[in-house]
């Protein structure tokens, strides 16, 4: 039962996924969309399972003080921090959503004569503001902007990400002066300041560093391993040199032929070989898919033990 039910579910959905390609009926399409929604939900829930799995795998290793257990602690603490800062804590409170608007008691005759109104924005110098579609930077001092009478949208945003912009619609009459001030509040969650800071200042540099190291390892491997030991290796080596020269602007500076040689290598031998591999892999995938759908291949259901 433990294996039979999942097996039949796999067979049913597998057969439907194949059949759906050949039945252009809207009911079949709608059902197919529904199943894809299920797949998306399952994929999202895999993140939760992944978190639980990390805990199950690493916690016993930390308790047993296995080799490199300190790195596991770093892993768990980092994961916990990201989880905590990724939650929208700001929704628990009620931070301001609109800036404060104050109006002058008396109208300005000179402004009124010109058919204009004025909005004064008082914000810190790390805040930018937008009045009637025109943006400007805050200076810490009052900034006066003349606008046409009517409803004017004022938006205050911080220069850096992770703060909620404050927006207000201010209706001003000719000659009226209004003052807008506010402090865009910090938010939490995926768009929050702490999450974005960790992403920008820790994850991004670390991620880029790992990829950048490849350049050094490739250069080292080129010296140590890339040897013309036989004809095939010599051909590979020559093709690599032509590709490296031909794909960089330097290649064309040396000779106009080099980029053409590189393009030919990509278009003919490389694409031919790649296509053969892709078709072979596709046929293999079809065979494996059929084995799963027909219940011959059962390794994905796990072992009996």
């Amino acid at each position: 039962m433990k294996k039979t039910v999942p097996l039949f579910i796999g067979i049913a959905f597998g057969c439907f996924a194949v059949a759906e390609f050949y039945i252009p009926h809207h009911h079949v399409g709608a059902l197919s969309n529904e199943f894809r929604q299920w797949a998306a939900i399952l994929a999202a829930s895999a993140f939760i399972l992944g978190g639980v799995n990390i805990l199950q795998v690493t916690w016993p290793q930390i308790r047993r003080r296995e080799p490199d257990w300190r790195y596991k602690v770093v892993l768990l603490v980092s994961a916990a921090i990201m989880l905590l800062v990724g939650l929208p804590w700001h929704k628990l409170g009620s931070p301001a959503k609109t800036p404060t608007v104050e109006r002058a008691a008396t109208a300005d005759a000179e402004l009124a004569a010109r058919g204009k109104a004025a909005i004064t924005v008082v914000v810190d110098d790390d805040v930018t503001f937008m009045i009637a579609g025109k943006s400007a930077a805050g200076t810490g001092r009052p900034v006066v902007t003349e606008v046409d009478p009517g409803e004017v949208e004022v938006k205050l945003s911080r220069r850096v990400a992770g703060y909620r912009p404050l927006t207000a619609k201010v209706t001003v009459a000719a000659g009226e002066r209004a003052t807008v001030h506010g402090d865009p509040p910090m938010i939490w969650g995926r768009d929050g300041r702490v999450f974005v800071w960790i992403y920008d200042h820790i994850f991004s540099p670390a991620n880029a560093t790992m990829f950048a190291l490849l350049a050094f390892f490739v250069a080292s491997a080129a010296f140590r391993a890339f040897r013309a030991r036989n004809v095939e290796a010599a051909l590979l080596l020559a093709a690599a040199i032509f590709m490296m020269l031909g794909r960089a602007p330097l290649g064309r500076a040396i000779s106009d032929v080099l980029p053409d040689v590189a393009q030919w290598l990509l278009d003919v031998p490389s694409n031919g070989g790649r296509r053969a591999i892709m078709m072979g892999a596709a046929i293999g995938a079809i065979a494996t898919g059929l084995r799963v759908i027909l219940g011959i291949e059962r390794s994905h259901l796990g072992s009996d033990s």
């Binding site: 390609f21 399409g29 197919s32 969309n33 894809r36 929604q37 797949a39 998306a40 994929a43 999202a44 895999a46 993140f47 990400a161 995926r190 768009d191 999450f195 974005v196 992403y199 920008d200 994850f203 991004s204 540099p205 991620n207 880029a208 790992m210 990829f211 950048a212 350049a215 050094f216 490739v218 250069a219 080292s220 080129a222 010296f223 140590r224 391993a225 890339f226 040897r227 013309a228 030991r229 080596l237 690599a240 040199i241 490296m244 020269l245 794909r247 960089a248 602007p249 330097l250 064309r252 500076a253 980029p259 393009q263 990509l266 278009d267 490389s270 694409n271 790649r274 296509r275 892709m278």
Partner: protein, 307 residues
């Protein structure tokens, strides 16, 4: 005991010297650019021409007068040096045509990057009038919900890409990333699936990405798609360009630099192409040097055996 041959000593060459040379080769061109022209290859030109063929419209025009373009940003910070220059160049190209843009991502690492890109390149002008070294048409800040929509992130790899192909709105629960209902966004009127767009732009650093778009939805729906990929993925995607399943392919930093040249606004890709020039030369020098040492050592050993 005979003295050790020079080739044997060099075989044990401390590889940190190579690291040092590579570091110099990467850093120096950033400060002392060679300035060699980055000429676009045929695949990059094809991608440019696909965007160029889209209709141009005014800032306040709406589809179908304006083109609607779906941009899938599937990358992480590691791949940004190679692909981000293309993204910036193609977005400037699209904004010059006032195309309506719809953004999405299938990479969980990407949303903060996408948010930054939207702030820097969509909500602000990339090349306003008077930009130094740029004599093309100026672009303008785009308005959220009017000129562009960010649908956000959806996980599900191949399955979710298939869902984009048949029910884009359903795949995002009928809401944009900021919670706005998609049926309240006028620029999306009549858009229900990927085939309703005039062009699909794939900024793709790996899996899921351009390959999955081609395999799951591109060919089935005959979608006009262009892609940018890292240099190592070029051989994966070039066959799709050859068959017409991708109508343009921008490969690695060299491709990005070529696209910048075509758009007329040199940027990080063009600067990076200088690093590529010298970096590739260092790798070639390492290959040649390694082989000289290898053959000298082999010759020495053969002589030793015969004498």
């Amino acid at each position: 005991m005979s003295a050790e041959h020079w080739s044997a000593k060099l075989q044990r060459f401390d590889r940190r010297w190579i690291f040092l040379v590579m570091a110099v080769a990467v850093v120096v061109p950033l400060f002392v650019p060679l300035g060699l022209p980055a000429r676009p290859d045929p695949m990059t030109k094809a991608a440019f021409n696909a965007v160029e063929a889209l209709p141009s419209c005014g800032p306040d025009d709406v589809p179908p007068k304006c083109a609607r373009v779906f941009v899938s940003i599937d990358l992480d910070p590691a791949s940004t040096p190679e692909i981000e220059p293309f993204y910036r160049a193609v977005v400037l190209h699209l904004k010059r045509k006032n195309a309506k843009l719809v953004f999405a991502t299938t990479w969980y690492q990407a949303p903060p990057l996408v948010d930054r890109y939207l702030r820097e390149t969509i909500e602000a002008a990339i090349a306003p009038a008077g930009t130094d070294g740029y004599d093309g048409a100026a672009d303008r800040p785009y308005r959220k919900g009017i000129d562009y929509v960010n649908l956000g992130f959806r996980d599900g790899k191949g399955a979710i890409i298939q869902a984009f192909g048949s029910d884009l709105r359903g795949a995002f629960d009928h809401r944009a990333d900021d919670g706005t209902r998609l049926d309240r966004i006028a620029m999306l009127d009549g858009v229900n699936k990927l085939s309703d767009f005039d062009l699909i732009v794939l900024v793709s650093a790996g899996n899921p990405g351009a390959k999955e778009y081609v395999q799951y939805v591109g060919t089935r729906n005959k979608l006009p798609m262009i892609a940018a990929c890292t240099a190592v993925s070029t051989t994966d995607l070039a066959p799709y360009y050859q068959t017409g399943q991708l109508i343009g392919l921008v490969a690695g930093m060299a491709g990005s630099a070529g696209y910048e040249t075509l758009v007329g606004k040199p940027g990080a890709g063009t600067a990076g192409a200088d690093v590529l020039n010298i970096g590739n030369l260092v790798v070639i020098a390492a290959i040649v040097f390694g082989n000289v040492v290898f053959f000298a050592g082999r010759r020495y050993q053969r002589r030793g055996r015969t004498s």
